[in-house]
Symmetry: C2
Subunit: 195 residues, 2 copies
């Protein structure tokens, strides 16, 4: 069974779903490491579901530094949601951090699917409900927690990110400089050897 269908069944807790009618709204695409899926400033045409691999969404700030705002591992959705919803140009670039397989859906097909399949409304309601709740927790961690504590919490909760993602990119996602992340890691390592 396709990973998307599995994910839908998991979230909607076991509704009977026919695979074919859902998947017909999507197109499978493969990307190599460093490939660009969506370019900043270009029309945002697709919403991506990661089947295998890892993507990141970032923009380039006024100092020319790439600011990574989101990751997407397996079973995550990713796009510039504001641009996708409004049909405007994307404020972000989406890039593959690994060899990645996605399902892509256009805005037109997204609307069609939601109109035709009630299960899609339920599924996306649940996807956004969780994503919104997670996003609020992220705000709390980013803005109300000492950075060393935040990093250690992140490390314990999302160990797979630490493994798979370059430090420079991870530092940017967490909202600090690579130099500072390097220092944090050194301190943590030191503390573990000298208890």
């Amino acid at each position: 069974m396709h990973p998307l269908i599995q994910h839908i069944q998991k979230l909607t807790s076991g509704f009977e779903i026919a695979e074919e009618p859902i998947l017909s709204f999507f197109e499978t695409k493969d990307f190599k490491k460093k490939d660009i899926l969506q370019e900043e400033g270009k029309r945002c045409s697709s919403y991506f579901f990661v089947v295998k691999g890892c993507l990141r969404l970032f923009f380039t700030d006024i100092n020319g530094v790439e600011q990574t705002m989101q990751f997407a591992l397996e079973n995550w959705w990713i796009t510039d949601l504001n641009a996708f919803r409004s049909g405007r140009k994307s404020a972000y670039t989406i890039q593959a951090l690994e060899e990645t397989e996605v399902l892509a859906i256009t805005a037109a097909n997204y609307e069609l699917m939601l109109a035709e399949l009630p299960i899609a409304e339920k599924y996306f309601r649940l996807v956004y409900e969780r994503a919104y709740a997670a996003s609020l927790l992220r705000i709390q961690m980013i803005s109300r927690m000492p950075k060393p504590e935040f990093y250690e919490l992140f490390q314990s909760r999302y160990p797979e990110f630490i493994q798979r993602i370059p430090q420079k990119v991870l530092a940017s996602f967490l909202g600090f400089t690579p130099e500072y992340l390097s220092e944090l890691r050194k301190n943590i390592a030191k503390r573990k050897s000298n208890p």
Copy 2:
């Protein structure tokens, strides 16, 4: 027509809705300024839709400082979403900043309503889709923008907040100290008189 029904029609762009079957899932409640709607550590029983007035959601940090994470003005939903979804105890307090009228719905009724009314799935899908997108922008403003710039942007986008909300609470929501907010305001005022 009730403000909630108006809001549903606005988001779902004009579906015909019968008022009575929807409102029957809710209870109207009124609160005075400073009343507590939800206490930290108590079971999170309700989800609130603000009909009139203003609420805030906060927790008390290890230094005893109240950290305001969210506001809700007219037509906003507010609760500890994680606690409401899972039936666990709330990590936050919800308090009225003004005299406030809400519609309250229990977790059981929320599930019932979603199961019985397809329009509710669509409506909440859209509510969360917007809230999630807004939350991502908020992360970007909080963590990737110089604070003076962030404050001025916030001021221009949400002038009604600046009017209605005590500075101390606003400072906490923005993630800085009241003293620093005071200094920012002074600098902005100075800049406006000396152009």
